[in-house]
Amino acid sequence: MKNVSAVSVPKVSWSGTTAFLGSTWRNTAAIFWKEFKTYFTSPMAYIIAGVFLAITGYLFVQSISTTFPEASIRGWLEPSTTVFVLWSPALTMRLLAEEQKLGTLELLMTSPIRDYEIVLGKFFAVLAILLATLSLTMFYTLMLFWFGDPDIGPVVSGYLGVILFGASTLAVGMLASSLTSNQVVAAVVSFGFLLLMVLTDQAADITTGLSAQILEGFSLSGHFDDFSRGIIDSNNIVYYFSVIATFLFLTIRNIESRRWR
């Protein structure tokens, strides 16, 4: 007895489009600020940033403590992507799971706000936390410039890569958080998924031919190597953007599905 109701076709007019963009911008910004501030009303943001800095700091010290240290950020950047597998779920787990638990998702969804505005606002909020945390790691880079003479290219591409990598893991975490009202479940699901997406790279190493290519093509870490070497390949950029877009799209659809289930 279920019917699929007609989908409304938005009427397009120029004044309508500007008004549309204006309200979308305002709504997304409202969600963004609410989410961003929430991280700072609890010790959450500080703990999360602190843990990230502690681990990358250790990796940085280790990478320059060799006999012939190299003045590059590669030494800590590459292993730090693995940190995201645990770090991102901790950051994203509450985003939608908590709204479902508190019943506030019902409030948001019955407010005149579009579902993708909710998802995008929240995504940009965690992305901002990620960028803020990463900006603190610039300290390591400054030290390299102070004591050594690193190439600027790999530093820039490395940071670009780590931002794209991190953003992808956040998008995966968001989908997991939209699937359940239990934050722990959300964290475990996204952790498992991310681990899988990172491990496909190693699986690719033990296979050959087409299967190796496919596994490598899907691997989150496989697309990162070029960035840390100082190569910005559009292929890799497209890959990360696809991952982000796909998982955000699935999150939006999952939230939306309440409206037609």
């Binding site: 409304s8 409202a30 508190l102 409206r259």
Partner: protein
């Protein structure tokens, strides 16, 4: 003729195989206060969730201020203030921040929003707590915060799901007064499972049971329709057999039953419609020099009302 603000047409909702709402239709005109009365699980919340665009109907349609809740969802939602059954609150926000956030996503401009926050906080009497974190508020004040949120943007239609559940009696009285006041300006649909609540606040009552509308009328008319029998409870000290006999002799009494309770003897007495037999009982007790400890009318429970309205048989249990 006032315009129709809420229109529900042949609405049916299935959750999987479970039929939650079964082909209901009703209208609410502008300025009306309508009570949606039914026991838990009768389909009240489901209907309200469909009206607010949170879930879709299986078949049929619902519209708010002329906008279909499915095809014109965003426009319909602009006209609604909604308080769900579990008050949706962000615990780590202050009352003021919470209202500001919700005002913003409802498209309110800054200075207008500021004025409206003041008004809403004043109306629900939250003045002392506007800068408190919601997690620190008592249940009653949380309920008020939820109500403030619903009236914040002066919506044309207010939908309140069980607005007085779980708060203390004084606050219940205050909330009812506020609802009555709001009803003067706004179209209001509120759900409840408490009969006196609709009598106290509503122009019209829609009674729903197991997904079906069983009655729709003014509270006064319903009260008349329901007055099939009156039930009186009396605690009388005296010889049981004689008391029962004397009660049955009172004109209008249709049945009398005796039960033993901790404090003595209790009599459940039924009489035919429109007969208030309390005075007659009191006089009878005095004439026999027995002791009258308690005498009261037993209000009809919601379950009894449904039986009465649906003409159903009592299927045991409470």
């Amino acid at each position: 003729m006032a315009e129709t603000m809420i229109e529900v047409k042949d609405l049916t909702k299935f959750y999987g195989d479970h039929l939650a709402v079964d082909n209901i239709s009703f209208e609410v005109k502008k300025g009306e206060v309508v009570g949606f009365l039914g026991p838990n699980g009768s389909g009240k919340t489901t209907t309200m969730r469909i009206l607010t665009g949170y879930i879709p109907p299986s078949t049929g349609s619902a519209s708010i201020a002329g906008f279909d809740t499915m095809t014109g969802s965003l426009d319909a939602r602009r006209h609604i203030g909604y308080l769900p059954e579990t008050v949706p609150l962000y615990m780590d926000m202050t009352v003021e921040d919470y209202l500001r956030f919700l005002g913003t996503i409802r498209g309110m401009r800054k200075d207008h929003l500021k004025r409206r926050i003041d008004t809403a906080i004043e109306r629900v009497k939250l003045g002392d707590y506007r800068k408190s974190f919601i997690s620190k508020l008592s249940k009653g004040y949380r309920q008020r915060t939820g109500l403030a949120q619903a009236i914040l943007h002066e919506p044309d239609v207010l939908i309140l799901d069980e607005p007085t559940v779980g708060i203390d009696p004084i606050q219940v009285v205050e909330t009812r007064a506020l609802i009555k006041e709001l009803g003067k300006e706004q179209t209001l649909l509120l759900s409840t499972h408490i009969l006196p609540e609709v009598a106290a606040t509503c122009d019209r009552v829609i009674i729903i049971n197991e997904g079906i509308i069983v009655a729709e009328d003014t509270p006064e008319n319903l009260a008349v329709r329901l007055r099939g029998t009156e039930q009186v409870q009396a605690d009388i000290r005296g010889p049981n057999a004689e008391v029962i006999k004397a009660i049955r002799e009172i004109p209008g009494v249709t049945s009398a039953r005796h039960i033993e309770i901790a404090t003595g003897s209790r009599y459940n007495i039924e009489s035919s419609a429109g007969n208030d037999i309390r005075e007659a009982i009191a006089a009878m007790v005095v004439n026999n020099s027995w002791g009258l400890l308690q005498l009261s009318i037993v209000p009809m429970s919601l379950e009894e009302i449904f039986l009465e309205l649906t003409g159903g048989e009592e299927h045991g249990g409470a």
